[in-house]
Every structure is written in structure tokens, then in C-alpha cells.
Symmetry: C2
Subunit: 116 residues, 2 copies
């Protein structure tokens, strides 16, 4: 085993799980729809429910997930709660993914391992 491999393994041990978790956070159509709704502006839960067509408890669940992950932040306003993206780089990450998907090489549909 080379030094390079050792370094890879060391860094992998520490960063693999969080990395996977971040990508999994982004790897659900419902959560992506929610993030999409937040791309342009801050939104209340109701607005997100309307825009995404998802059920309200479902949206709340995913928002909790996204909040715990630190991907969104919230702000109370009376009985409304307004959510927004926690970091610009999240939008960047999504855009980069779209660019990658626009490449001819990357054709995710063909993957039979999961139905997505």
C-alpha cells in the first residue's frame, strides 16, 4: 500500500460518511423539489406545499431533515415559518449537477440499480 493510498484511506474514513449523507440529502426528488422552490426566494411551508404538490407533513419532515443537515435555515414570522437556502454553494452544487447531466456521457436514466 502506497503513501497515497494511506492518505486516501485516512481522508476517506473521516469524510466518506458525511459526504454520502450530504449527497443523500440532495438525492431525493421531494427534497430537491423543496430546494428548487427555495432557489429564487424565501418561502413559507404553505408556499412550498403549493409549489411542490407534496403533502404538508411530508414537506415538514423533509424540511426538518434539510434543517438538521444545515442545508436550509428558518425564520419565524408570526405563525408562518419561512425557509431559505442556508448557503449559496448549495445552489451552485445543484447547478453543477445539472451541467454534468447535460453531458452526453452522464445518463443517469440507464442505471438499473435503483429506480429513483
Amino acid at each position: 500500500m502506497t503513501l497515497q493510498n494511506i492518505q486516501d484511506d485516512l481522508s476517506a474514513a473521516d469524510t466518506l460518511e458525511p459526504r454520502a449523507k450530504l449527497f443523500r440529502g440532495l438525492g431525493d426528488p421531494s427534497r430537491l423539489a423543496i430546494l428548487d422552490a427555495l432557489l429564487s426566494d424565501e418561502r413559507s411551508v404553505q408556499e412550498i406545499v403549493t409549489q411542490t404538490g407534496l403533502g404538508q407533513p411530508n414537506v415538514s419532515n423533509h424540511l426538518r431533515c434539510l434543517l438538521d443537515c444545515g442545508l436550509v435555515s428558518r425564520r419565524n414570522e408570526g405563525r408562518f415559518v419561512r425557509y431559505r437556502l442556508a448557503d449559496r454553494r448549495i445552489a451552485d452544487l445543484i447547478r453543477d449537477a445539472d451541467q454534468l447531466l447535460a453531458s452526453t456521457a452522464v445518463g443517469v436514466d440507464a442505471c438499473r440499480s435503483y429506480t429513483g
Copy 2:
């Protein structure tokens, strides 16, 4: 509903599923470990098995998934099969994710929705 929302919905309908699928492809520790092994160089299945500690059928399964998705490409060499990243931007995406995780705000561990 504003024009902006309509545009969001239209783009979402087309790109949400593939996007989610791409992120899910990246959202598994085993697949990330495999991609990690390929970051620095081309590798045979055996080498990946050794470096990741995963089972051989398991690695083959994930490689098939990654291949179908277009995230890796393969090359036959005798009875060996050597895999490599299909696109530099995949490594970029992973690095960007790591940078995001280095931020204080994004702390994925706290997410209780999935154990990952």
C-alpha cells in the same frame, strides 16, 4: 402563480428526477469509496476491492450502477477490467461537497431522518 414559479416548475419537471438520481448515485458510502479509489488513478476491480474493503460482488454491482449512470468508464485489459472516472467534474462535485461540509453551518450528522 408568478411567471417565475411557472418556469421553476417546468424546469423542475424535466430535471428533478435525473438530478435526484445523480445525487443518489453519489449518496452511498460504498460508491463514494469506489469513486474515491478512482480519484487519483485508474484501477482494476481487484484493486478497488482491496482499497475499499468491500466484497467483490458488491463492488461489481456498484460499478455497474456507476457505469450505467455514466459516472465511470471501463477498459478491458486481458482478464482485468480497469475503471476510471468518466468526467473531471465528478471529482469537482465531490470536492465542492467537502468544502460545503467544512462550513460550520452544514453539519449533516445532526440529520435524524436517515442514518446513512
